[in-house]
Symmetry: C2
Subunit: 255 residues, 2 copies
DNA sequence: CGAACCTTTGATGGCACTCAATACAGGTGG
DNA sequence: CCACCTGTATTGAGTGCCATCAAAGGTTCG
């Protein structure tokens, strides 16, 4: 059954919003969207803007409409690790928590659809499907986090940088599901380094290697085009290279 | 209001089970516990037993009654990363997923309370509070995973090992909330190495350093006693050491 | 007691960090 | 439009931490 006949009831701002399809708002009916929309506000922030301060009580929540948000964790001595990247139409915030030790900061220009804590809690009471959506996003983020732990703990610098480009290509476009062959890196080298657990210099060197190897082209330090996806995947260590070992894995895995 | 008056209705096996308090079963009433209990089974497995095979369809779920489970992620070339440790009374399994790329393996001897996929789904339909509990565990695991990303990405070998001991001390005892000063390490050195993104040799060396520094004592390679918790925290990098920098952080944070 | 496994310790080398200098991009004002 | 300036990125040289290789010491079984 198509819901589009009710589209007239959906707030104008929500009509084209991806959060209504792949985001949490998909759990809400038109009436609830109107109700939430009344308390919601749009906001556009510049790169570097702090969206959630670590250790502070979170005052509200938001959906990411466009742009990239980095989740950061800080050590007392100043070392920083980016523990996650969030893309449209992700939900932003930490439900049920007094305060999180994790901060959120705009990596690129970010457009947000914000709503107060109470509005979300009200919606949660009304619609059990909403919590289910939130749960599913949490599970997805958990999978992503654990994937990245593999990258941080086991991979070499070259593999880390290649993995990063693969990650970006998969997530940069909120509408498509496949891999984007060409995109702008929404992070500075310093951010990439903090995400990969490397230094700026090492990141730069590895990008140069990929460029000289003809696997990617980079323009103006930001715009990347992946010309050889398979090679990139090999460099990321996510695909078997040794045929012998591959065969062995296959056999043991199919039992 | 005390629920203990209903304890007569609670299955005998559940009476002393920690999952009924801090685990997911706390969301169920006695009748539902009976219903779930009918389909549940107890299982005890030895260290090294595979509980969930990566890439396989998960046939069921379980609560951990005692012992430690390691969640592992594997690269095609054989490199392994332990992406999480789970303790009693954690819920084990990946709801709503066809199959997970993450495997689960008993690190120590593990006792489980298992139930089939359908039983959980039935419970989820009956009790919305259950999904809420699952969601909260997922959020907790997400926080833990991100904490550990900081450890993997930024910390030195010495800090990693110290952080590992702190993690164990906090989680090893399912009944207490504080820090256990003495406990058995439920992992072999090779597992610790895979968890920390180090080699066995480096782990061993760093443990020796902590021992020679008088911060911990280790007997029979497994039993650890933390004699200087503050020093351990300093070595883990989780506590400010430089007073000047500490003051600076404090000031900038309070604005 | 002996065998298998695990852990520790030592010697050496390589990858990524540090330090330092140069090149580039984007914005502002002349 | 160009000169300037700031923040950002690249490239190079040297060092140090941790991995690798190798061997000996412990522990836990049968």
């Amino acid at each position: 059954m198509r819901r589009d006949i009710h589209n007239a009831d959906v707030p104008t701002l929500c009509q084209a919003c991806e959060a209504r399809h792949r985001g949490i708002c998909g759990a809400l009916d038109p009436e609830q969207l109107v109700q939430l929309g009344r308390q919601a506000g749009r906001r556009e922030v510049e790169p570097g803007a702090e969206l959630i301060a670590a250790g502070m009580p979170a005052d509200g929540y938001a959906n990411i409409l466009s742009g990239v948000v980095k989740l950061t964790s800080l050590l007392p001595d100043g070392r920083q690790q980016i523990v996650g990247l969030q893309f449209a139409p992700d939900f932003l915030g930490r439900p049920f928590a007094k305060s999180s030790e994790i901060g959120a900061e705009a990596a690129s220009t970010v457009r947000l659809c914000t709503f107060p804590r109470s509005a979300l809690e009200e919606m949660l009471r009304q619609s059990p499907g909403l919590e289910h959506r939130l749960y599913e996003q949490a599970l997805r983020e958990l999978d992503d986090a654990r994937d990245w732990m593999m990258t941080l703990g086991q991979k070499t610098a070259a593999e880390k940088v290649a993995s990063f480009l693969l990650l970006l290509g998969r997530h940069i476009n909120p509408y498509a599901n496949g891999f984007a062959n060409s995109f702008d890196i929404p992070l500075r080298r310093a951010d990439i380094a903090d995400f990969l657990g490397l230094t700026v210099e090492t990141v730069s060197r590895q990008l140069s290697h990929l460029r000289k190897a003809g696997i990617v082209t980079i323009e103006k330090n930001r715009c990347v085009t992946v010309s050889d996806l398979t090679a990139l995947e090999i460099h990321a260590g996510v695909v078997p290279t040794d045929p012998q070992r591959t065969a062995a894995r296959r056999n043991s895995g199919s039992t």
